[in-house]
């Protein structure tokens, strides 16, 4: 990334994030993949199971992000992470609101609600890279 953490802090952050985030992220990816490639039958039990798995993994990821952010000991970086999450939320709401209005008043194709989370993550990631790059410490 575009920041210089001390090795100890870097290792601790990475360990903490990976341990908590990847299990729920894997469930999310697997369920999304199954939805997209298996096309479960309408009203089938598989569709319900996948939908509930997706919802639970999403809640898990959001809770994990919140917990990791709360426990982040570097307060300046915590501030940058919160700023990037705010950008992600604002971006997602702007895009989905605009798209929703277009769906009502024009012939634009409906945007699957499934896309909300990826939109949030992509905008948050872009904001995080930008914010960390803008706040990169100068050479001493």
């Amino acid at each position: 990334m575009y920041c210089e953490l001390t090795p100890e802090v870097k290792r601790r952050n990475r360990r903490e994030l990976l341990r908590k985030f990847w299990p729920v992220y894997l469930i999310y990816i697997t369920a999304t993949g199954m939805f997209l490639f298996l096309h479960p039958a309408h009203n089938s039990p598989l569709a319900y199971v996948l939908a509930i798995s997706l919802a639970l993994s999403l809640i898990g990821m959001i809770v994990t992000l919140a917990v990791v952010t709360t426990r982040q000991r570097d307060e300046f970086q915590k501030q940058l992470i919160i700023q990037s999450m705010t950008w992600g939320l604002c971006g997602m709401m702007s895009i989905t609101t605009t798209w929703g209005l277009l769906e009502v008043f024009t012939d634009v194709r409906p945007l699957p609600i499934l896309m909300n989370f990826p939109i949030f993550i992509v905008i948050m990631a872009a904001a995080k890279v930008t914010l960390f790059r803008n706040n990169r410490p100068a050479d001493e």
Binding site: C3, E4, L5, T6, E8, F76, N135, R136, P137
Partner: protein, 68 residues
């Protein structure tokens, strides 16, 4: 908020990385505090004061930053 962190650090011949290591924060945080982009929380300010064996007021002032 203005601060004397850069001067006090230089007096001890510590780099930003040294100070970051002592405070268990990133060098990015030290740089942000020194350049006035970020005001630390009270716990971090106390930690800084203890590390430099002084008071918070000796490090931070609410006088506006002087521009060159």
């Amino acid at each position: 908020m203005n601060n004397r962190l850069r001067v006090m650090r230089a007096e001890r011949r510590w780099s930003q990385a040294d100070l970051a290591q002592r405070l268990e924060v990133s060098r990015q945080s030290i740089n942000a505090i020194e350049t006035g982009k970020y005001d630390p929380s009270l716990p971090l300010a106390f930690k800084l004061a203890r590390l430099f064996d002084t008071t918070i007021e000796a490090i931070f002032t609410d006088e506006p930053r002087q521009t060159a």
